[in-house]
């Protein structure tokens, strides 16, 4: 992977001056900010480029970079008689939430960004939102699904993920009403913010469909062996196994399930199978694994945003990176595209106006229809359910973009 025009901007002189002030407390009064951007609009993006979340950080970065590149190649964003080029200012927050918060404050106060993309995941997005709210900087969160991020009464935070239940409800619905003999569910979850939250959501969705949840086990972050859990599961013979985690966990889990001969009728995993790396790594074992995500390259919308139709976006992404975008990459691009539409509608980059434009959006993008609820979380998406069939992910729900029927059995 190459790094794409990463733009950490320095203010070396100003920064050194400020730090000297901190260290020595020598007359910091005369310090100057770097000159305000004239024809450049800065958007801050704290990313976990090192540390535990770094694979996710890379995805977001690819999504943002594609947006910035597309905008700038199209001549920038025009508002009124001004044209702005987009510059994304990246900060690596080392996968540490406190650093993410610090990054947000630094981007706003030191680097002078006009807008912010949230750090990865619900926890960090929530923590950083308190900063952007304080400085009244419109912020788009591309990877935060938990409603608790949005129900703080904040005005400047908008998110492109619907709540987790919008993923699990259709899944449970499809499986329970498949006509197959599926009665029992075993849930196996990574004890971590998102994976655990979605597992709990699935437990509720499954019970609501009258399925019996026969086990709910958690495994610790960094677990390197799942043998015991699956040896037990082998005895209980669940019809449906629902496993959550990040891609490395799920690759390992899939392999150990196969090693130990766990063959449920349905195997659902979140969030790995949406990533092409999962299919590459698991090979034949990926076959018939089902999942759900907020977006899928097979969905089809005629967007009013810069990327246009979904197929155009996918083609642009493939041209740039040589691979198909997944939901995390698309959501990052969408965050940019949505922000851009709002700026154009507002006719200014003045924060209050852009915020109001975001709140009032009702458009269709390559990513899907975009409307934000009162709290700022998107409520117009219908996340697709898909299954890996013949080496590619095929959408099985919703009906209008369906590519294949869900297959049952044949998990081995």
């Amino acid at each position: 992977m190459k790094k794409q025009n990463t733009t950490t901007r320095p203010l070396w002189g100003g920064a050194a001056g400020r730090l000297t002030a901190l260290a020595l407390l020598a007359g910091a009064a005369g310090l100057t900010q770097s000159a305000a951007a004239q024809e450049t609009m800065k958007v801050g993006a704290p990313l976990p480029l090192t540390g535990a979340l770094s694979p996710e950080g890379l995805k977001q970065q690819r999504g943002y970079d594609l947006w910035a590149k597309t905008v700038n190649e199209a001549g920038g964003i025009t508002v009124g008689n001004k044209t702005y080029n987009v510059e994304i200012v990246y900060v690596d927050y080392e996968s540490q939430t406190p650093r993410a918060v610090q990054s947000a404050e630094r981007l706003i106060t030191e680097d002078g960004v006009s807008f912010l993309f949230s750090p990865f995941g619900s926890g960090a997005a929530k923590a950083a939102s308190s900063v952007s709210e304080r400085y009244q900087i419109p912020t788009v969160a591309p990877t935060a699904s938990s409603p608790s991020v949005y129900d703080q009464g904040y005005q400047y935070l908008f998110g492109t993920f619907t709540p987790n239940s919008t993923l699990t409800t259709p899944l449970a619905d499809i499986v329970a009403n498949s006509g197959e003999e599926i009665k029992t569910v075993a849930i196996y979850a990574r004890n971590d913010l998102f994976p655990l939250a979605i597992a709990q959501e699935m437990e509720a969705s499954a019970k609501a469909q009258g399925l019996e949840v026969i086990s709910f086990d958690e495994y610790a972050i960094g677990t390197m062996d799942h043998g015991s859990a699956f040896t037990l599961m082998r005895q209980s013979q669940p019809d449906w196994v629902f496993a959550t985690g990040y891609i490395n966990d799920l690759i390992l889990i899939r392999k150990q399930m196969a090693d130990l001969g766990i063959t449920p009728k349905v195997l659902t995993m979140i969030a790995g199978p949406a990533y092409k790396e999962f299919i590459e790594a698991s090979g034949p074992l990926a076959e018939n694994v089902s999942s759900a995500a907020w977006w899928h390259p097979a969905v089809s919308y005629e967007g009013e945003d810069i990327f246009g139709a979904t197929t155009d976006y996918v083609a642009a992404f493939e041209a740039e990176y040589g691979s198909t975008p997944d939901y995390a990459e698309a959501s990052a691009s969408a965050a940019g595209a949505i922000l851009q539409v709002a700026i154009e509608k507002a006719g200014t980059i003045e924060p209050q106006a852009v915020r109001d434009a975001l709140a009032g959006l009702d458009i269709v993008t390559f990513y899907g229809p975009v409307r934000f609820s009162e709290t700022g979380q998107i409520n117009s998406l219908e996340p697709p359910v898909f299954q890996i069939q013949d080496g590619t992910a095929k959408v099985v729900f919703p009906e209008d973009v369906k590519q294949a029927d869900m297959r049952y059995g044949d998990i081995n």
């Binding site: 920064a15 407390l25 923590a127 004890n191």
Partner: protein
Amino acid sequence: MTRVLPVVLVIALVAALPLLGDNYLLRLGTMGAMYAVMALSWNVIGGFAGYPSFATAAFFGLGAYTGAILQGAGVYMPLAWVAACLAAALFAGLLGLAILHLKGHYFAIASLVVAEVLLEITTSWTSLTGGGMGLNLPILRISVDAQARLFFWAMLALASLTLAMNWIVANHRLGFGLRCIRQNEDASGMVGINTTLYKVIAFILSAVFVGGAGALYASWVFYIEPPDVFATLTSVKPIVMALLGGAGTVLGPVIGAVLFLVMEELVWRNLLEIHAAALGILIVILIFFLPGGVLGLFKRRRKPAAPSRPLASAEAGR
């Protein structure tokens, strides 16, 4: 006293930082004070007594969770901070009794792994700690600027307390005894030093204010999760800071903390993905070219408080 006065003046000047009205600078100041608390605290067990403790993260995380849980239960914020200090001190006392008879690497590993165990316990004890989902703290109902000032001053006060504690220890028989222990623990017993007691006291002192810093930190950021507060780097950074400034001295760790913060910030700003490597290089340079820390460069000739080879310490651990 002539050496105390300038220090007090500097602290007073730093306390005037909010006058500049720059919240990011205040954030850095708060972090600097937090670093100073940790480096000074480690200095007591690692610098004075020569025990290579990697338990700072354990105390920090324990303090953060104690403070957060109590505040969540409605305890008044400053009381929660005090309770976090006490919890960390108590924990350090018990832990010290258990592991301070270990020497060298064995002690280092035991202290390092304690944070891991606490991390796992915190992660799995979901009912109390929120587990992997993290823990939210009650939001303060004061303006954000007031918050920035409040936490800056509170952290600075804690750092000043920790500095005072170091100064008192260094000039007290405790500090004398700890330096004896560092140089020769067996002989220390023979000259009448209650080595176990002294080591445990030193370990407690290395924990109490770190626990407070953890709780303060939790109140400051509103949201904590286990991997953030129990990070191994939290144990390593204070050691680097103390070595950078001069371990076993009183002012060395403070100087090291400030220098470290400045370097960290500069690297972080200017290099996108290689700050870990930069820290690594700093460490290597430190070990080979600055074994006595910054203060070591000046203090070659001075005799009592600062041994000129602060690194010389615990015997090899076989």
